[in-house]
Each structure stands twice: as structure tokens, then as C-alpha cells.
Symmetry: C4
Subunit: 245 residues, 4 copies
């Protein structure tokens, strides 16, 4: 077995404490994402429909919090297609990918259960599940989730580009504001999930499974395109970074 | 008496000027917290019910201001359960804990008195006291305050983790945005206090004492869990920080 | 004449190019403050009453922009009582104080004239003048302007404290968010001016002079208290800063 | 041919890979600007009129995202008059100016086509085209676009001023918040375009060409004034920067 393949598989990570701490962080992070994002959709205006702007900003700041708090342990992916994008660009091993995605899904379902418990029964509705607006066709909805995830993942990879020296300010806050910005235009159309775990959690608890496959396939497609474009075309190359110093 | 016990008790701090400056800052900070947070709830829309989003953002930015302005003197806890969490993790002495909590409570009541004075009588209502929504049960409300304080304290300890080198951007603003994000989903349910002093101030002035004990016990429980989890499991260890350099 | 007195008077500054560039920046900054703050009050919802939250955030981000753009030349005071506070704490000379305040007032009136011109006549109203809510008494209004300016100036001096090493993030944005946070609770009560020039500009153009003296005297009192408290009690001392290194 | 003229023309840039990567980034950036800005205007409240505040913040955070993600390759101008301002101040060559403006216009039309496709037909309206409010005269609208672009370009040049050492925090976020702040007061009056490409994209797809020439001429005039004023009067000079160290 070559070293490259060994690194890609990453079985050796299973024997480190850090690996399990990282799984814990992905679990906690995705759980908190669901509690706060879905919680705000349902409860911010006491069970009535809340403005897209308000829930978009809450989602964004929740992501900022999670990156801020858990980044040093797990990288705070809290999204299966982000982990997948880091795998296909060679940054994260297969073992970590599988572990992270499982933790994210379990965390999301746990978060939805917490929201379900803590909300008054008459408020619960579909627990903030991502749904297509009734005017949106399947093709449009699929396309919207592809485009929005593509844009988000470009921003995530720009943030993770360690040869860039032009970034200033808060990386977690910037990623949060990207989530806000996208939810502001796509939230009413498809819920702007960009994240299969975020769609899975409330779906399990509320039984709202319409178009659920779209929320896995479209973000995976969008994140693949975004991550490959950034890594192979837009990433700052080490040489350029050196010459600019 | 061992050195450890002496450090824990911290009587020697009573003879420093800095200690009393810190008490002044906790007093000022908690007073301003009440003026701005409760003031915005009552007055932002001229005595009518104001949106949760607006008051959540105002609360958050008030906390950001307080951390920004008073952090260098007292650490800007402005919250008895944050001070308590720093005590049980060995960061703050018993003397300081008692002094801070007294200052915070006196500051909160003073802030509520200022709000009471400066509002037109017909606007005052319960002065922005934290109350359970009528649809929320005692168990749900208790649980919500535990969870929200747990999440907040994780973020506060992540911010205070001096071995982390991955933070970027404004620490005060980040803590403020955590408060915003939590108030956005829990504000309508329990007021999202996460802070006994914040509940105490307007309760004293308006006589709105329903479930008041919850606002002491639940945040204390949540902050204990959050601070111990972060310090003993998630904190960056000095060795790891060194090896990553 | 002693050197101290000579420095306080600052006549020598009159012969530097930088002095007149600074006056230009105070003129531009205060003009833009009025255009954006008053403009948003009148036009954000097309001549109807706009939410306090929206105008508060616009005011805050306008201040952030002005500090960002003009700080390196003039310090971006754009507020007579901020300049006054820097004078009584020995940071700014008398000559500069007089020049800045004149520039700020001329800039504010110019900004109001621009707003007046560019708004449809039926929208103009009082051009976003600061007024007391009809339920607010003179004593309450005076007190509110004192307290809000006191809080704001504490934050400004904390930002300017060059011995503090604990600040992180954007100084201009922080000052902007302080303005937002205060306007959120005091905006509906008195307009939350905290700035005589900001009250003067639209008053001149619209003739809305009610309680105008309050908007000079109360902010001056609040800023005096805030600046003296910060400089003489809360400021990081050079020694402490050194020992903490 | 002198070296100065050769540098101004910049034909040699046509033979670098970086030039075409930069064109790609301007294309992508302007496309995303239109998708998010126009998309939020049309879809944030499901086809009904959305608040100026919400769309202003979305526009601003979209700009922040684009600067964050594409700045290292192309500078993330995404605006013909910003590129023009960098040309007349000698920072960008003629070749780059022409290439960038073409990329921006093609990107904007592509973005509008994406929005057109992904929106339910009954929601599309004028696809978020910039239009004068019916109460605004031609002279007022022209003046508003001049003033708002002037203010924006001052801020952009302040951000790009490499001799300034007083900036702190996130440059991309600051530019985004400038766009927010301006859209908050000018959005209802003229759409607060400040960007011919942003006006061109939805105009091509929706056929909404009223006053279209204003959205080219007024921003060009405003950005010329702003950039020349900053570069020749307000810019930190290298000497001053040195002496202040």
C-alpha cells in the first residue's frame, strides 16, 4: 500500500484521541446549528412566519459561533458536503470523512429532537425543515441548491487558503455572513440548505421528506465544482505568495 | 494554609486598587447592559412589542460594547454565572467571585432604576423583565435556559482560550454575536436571560418575579457544564499549541 | 508663556497643511454623517416612518465608514462634544477644538442642504431632525442624552487607549456598533443625538428647533463625565501595560 | 514608446495567465453580485416588496463575500467605475481596464440570466433593476448616484491606501458595510446602483432601461471625484507614514 493511499484512507487516525474529540465537536456543532437555525425559524416570532432576513442572519451567526468555538479541534465543517469537498481536494482522509458525516447526521437529529422537546407543541410545525416554495419547480430548486452551495464553498476554500496573506478580520464571522447572504436570496425558494445534515435533522423528527434527495445531491454537486475550481484555478500558489513578500 | 487554597480564596486581592476598579467596571457594565437591553425592549418601538430580532441584536451589541470597554480592568463578566464558571475552573478567586456578583447585582438594579426613571410611565410595562412565554412549560423553560447558557459559555471559554492561535477578528464582537444568535431563537420562549443579574434588575423594579429562581439555577447549571467541558476536553493544550508551530 | 500653555493653545498648528486637511475631513465626515443618517430616516421607507432598528444600524455603519475613511487625517471626531472631550483631557489643542467644531457645524448644515435638495419635497418632513417623543419630559430627555453620550464617550476613549493591548477587530466598526446600540434604545425617546452638529444640520434647514439647547448641553455634560472617568480611572497605565508584557 | 506609456497601456499583461484568471474572477464576482443582490430584491419576501434595509444588508454582505473570495486574483472590482477610478489614478493599466469592464458586463448579464431562470415566472418583475422612485426627478437621481458613488469610492481608496497603518478589522467586511450604509439611504430613491454593471445585467434581461445612461455617467463622475480627491489630498504620504513610526 502506497503512502498516498495510506494517507487518503487515514486508518491511523482512529487510534488518536484527537479524532474522537473532533467527532464530538462535529456532533456538538451540527446539533447547535439545528437548535439555533431551526429554533429561530419556528420560535422567533412565536410560531408565526418569521422574516427571511431574520432567520438568514441567525443562521449565519450560528455558523460563525460554531467555527469560532470548534474550529481548532475539528475544523468545524458541520456539513457533509464541506467534508466531502475537503476529501476530494485531498485535505481530509476517507476515515475522517466517514466519521465526520456520521457525527454530523447524528448531531443534526439530536439537535432536532432538542428543538422538538423545547418548543410548545402548537409551534412545532415542520421544525424548520427545508422545503421548496410551492412556486419553485424541481429543476429550479435543484439548480438553486447547486449554485448556492457552489458560492458558499468557494468562500470556505478562500478562507482556508493558507497561502493568502490578504485576508483580514474574522474568518468565522466571514463564513457566517456568507451563509446569511445566501439565505437572504435563496431562503424563500428552497430554504437555502446547502447542507444535507441541516435538512436531515428536522426531516427525521417532523417527517417532512419532500425533495429530500435534492438536499444531498445538489449541495454535493455544487461543493464539488466550487472546491475543485478554487483549489485548481483560484488558489494562491506558494510561489506567488513568496514573490509578493 | 496551602498556596493553592490561598490563591483560591484570594483575600490578598482586597488590598489592591485594581480590585475596586474591577468592581466599578462590573457595576458599570451590568448597569449599561440593563439600560440598553431592557431599554430597547421597552422603547425601540415606542412602547409596543418590538421584534425579537431587533432586541436580540441590541443585546448582543451591548455585550460587545461592554467587553470592548471594560475587559482590560475586570474581564467584563457582567454575569454571575460567567464569574462562577471562571471560579470553578480555577481562573478567578472566591473573593473576586463574591465581589463581582455583588457588583453585578447592584449594577443591574441601578440600571433598571435608570430605565424606570427615563421611560414615560405608560411605556414601562415590566421593564423588559425576562418571562416565560405562556405556552412554555416550567421544564421546557428550565431546559432552554440551561442549553442557551451552555452554548454561550462554550463560546466565552473558546474566546478566553489563550493557547488558541486560530482566532481572528474581534473577540468582543464575537461574544456579542453569540448573545444575538441565542436570543434570536430563545428570546421569545424565556427571554433568553442566561444571566441572573440581567433577570434580577428589572424584576426588582417592576415586581415581575415569575420563575425567577429558574434564571439563577438553570444558567448556573448550563455554565458549569459548558465551562468544564471546554476546559477539560476542548481546550487547546499548551503542548499541541507548541507542536503546531 | 509656558510650553504647556503653548501646546494647549496650539496656534502653531495653524501654519501646517495637515491642519487644513483635518478641517476638510471633519467637514466631509460630518456632511456625510448627516446625508446618510438623516437621509435614511426620511427615505428608507419612502417617506413613511422607518423602524428605529434600521436607522440605528445605518447611523452606526455611517460612523464606522467615516472613522475608517478619515481617521488618519483628523481622527474623525465629527462631533463637537467628542472634540471637546479630547480637549479637556489634554489630547487636542484649543485651536484644533475651535477649528474642528466650526468645520463640523458647517459640514452638518451642508449635509442637510444636500439631503434637502435630493429628497422629493413631499418626503422632507423635518429632514430627520432629533426630536423628543411627545411622551418624554424635558428632564427625561436631558438625562437620556447625558447617559447615552456618557456611554458612547467611554467607548470612544476605550478605543483610543493606546496602552491597551487587548483590543482586537475593527476599531471603526466597534464605534459604529456602539452608535447603533445606543440609538436602538434611545432613538425613539430623543433621537439619540449625542452630537450637537448632528442636531444642528437638519434644524437649520427644517426650522425644527425644539429643545435644541438640550442637544448641546446634555452631550457636553455626558462626554465630560465619560472622558474624565475613562482617562483618570479606567485607562490602562503605561506601567501596567509594561508589566503585563 | 516611453516606459510610462507602456505601463499605462499594459499590453504585456495579455500574455500572462494571471490576466485571464483575473478576468474569470471579475466575471464570477459580478455574476454572483447580480444573483445575490437582485435575487434578494425579488425573492426575499416571495415576490412582494422587500424592505430596503434587508436588501441593503444583503447587497453589502455580497460585496464583502466577493472581495473576500476573489481579491487576491483580480482585486475584486466588480464595478466598471471602480476599475475606471483605478485607471485614472494610475493603478491599473488600460488593457486591464478594458478587460475588466467587459468581464464585469458579461458577468452581470449572465448573473441576471441565472436569476431569471431560477425565479418562478410570477416573481420576476424587473429582476431587481435599478429604477428611480416616481417622486425623484432626473436631476435629483443623477445627483444621488454621483454623491453615493463619490462616498463609496472614497471608502474603497481609503481601504486600498497601503501607507495607512491605522486600519484594523476586515477590509472586505468594511467595503460591504459601506455598500449597505449607502443603499440604506439611497436605495429607495434610485436603487443606489453606484455600478453600471449592476444596472446593466437585469436591464438586459427585463428590458427595464429607464434612465439607464444615468447609471453609467453619474457613477463615473462620482468615482472620478472621489478617487482623485483621495489620492491627491487625503492619501497617507509615505513620508508621514515613516515619521509616525
Amino acid at each position: 500500500m502506497t503512502n498516498n493511499l495510506r494517507a487518503f484512507l487515514g486508518f491511523h487516525e482512529l487510534s488518536t484521541v484527537h479524532f474522537y474529540k473532533a467527532l464530538l465537536c462535529e456532533f456538538l456543532g451540527t446539533g447547535i446549528l439545528i437548535v439555533s437555525t431551526c429554533g429561530s425559524i419556528v420560535s422567533m416570532d412565536a410560531g408565526r412566519v418569521v422574516s427571511t432576513f431574520s432567520t438568514a442572519m441567525t443562521s449565519g451567526m450560528t455558523v460563525a459561533y460554531i467555527v469560532w468555538t470548534f474550529n481548532h479541534v475539528s475544523g468545524a465543517h458541520i456539513n457533509p458536503v464541506v467534508t466531502f469537498a475537503f476529501m476530494i481536494t485531498g485535505i481530509v482522509s476517507l476515515t475522517k470523512t466517514v466519521g465526520y458525516i456520521l457525527s454530523q447526521c447524528i448531531g443534526a437529529v439530536t439537535g432536532a429532537a432538542i428543538i422538538w422537546y423545547m418548543l410548545p407543541p402548537s409551534w412545532r410545525g415542520n421544525l424548520g425543515s427545508t422545503v421548496f416554495h410551492e412556486d419553485v419547480t424541481l429543476a429550479q430548486g435543484f439548480f438553486i441548491e447547486v449554485i448556492s452551495t457552489f458560492i458558499m464553498v468557494l468562500g470556505v476554500f478562500a478562507t482556508s487558503d493558507r497561502y493568502r496573506t490578504d485576508h483580514s478580520g474574522s474568518l468565522p464571522l466571514t463564513i457566517g455572513l456568507i451563509v446569511f447572504m445566501e439565505s437572504a436570496w435563496a431562503g424563500k425558494l428552497t430554504g437555502c440548505s446547502m447542507n444535507p445534515a441541516r435538512s436531515l435533522g428536522p426531516a427525521v423528527l417532523s417527517g417532512s421528506w419532500d425533495h429530500h434527495w435534492v438536499y444531498w445531491l445538489a449541495p454535493a454537486l455544487g461543493s464539488s465544482c466550487g472546491s475543485l475550481l478554487y483549489q485548481h484555478v483560484l488558489a494562491e500558489s506558494p510561489q506567488e505568495a513568496n514573490t509578493s513578500i
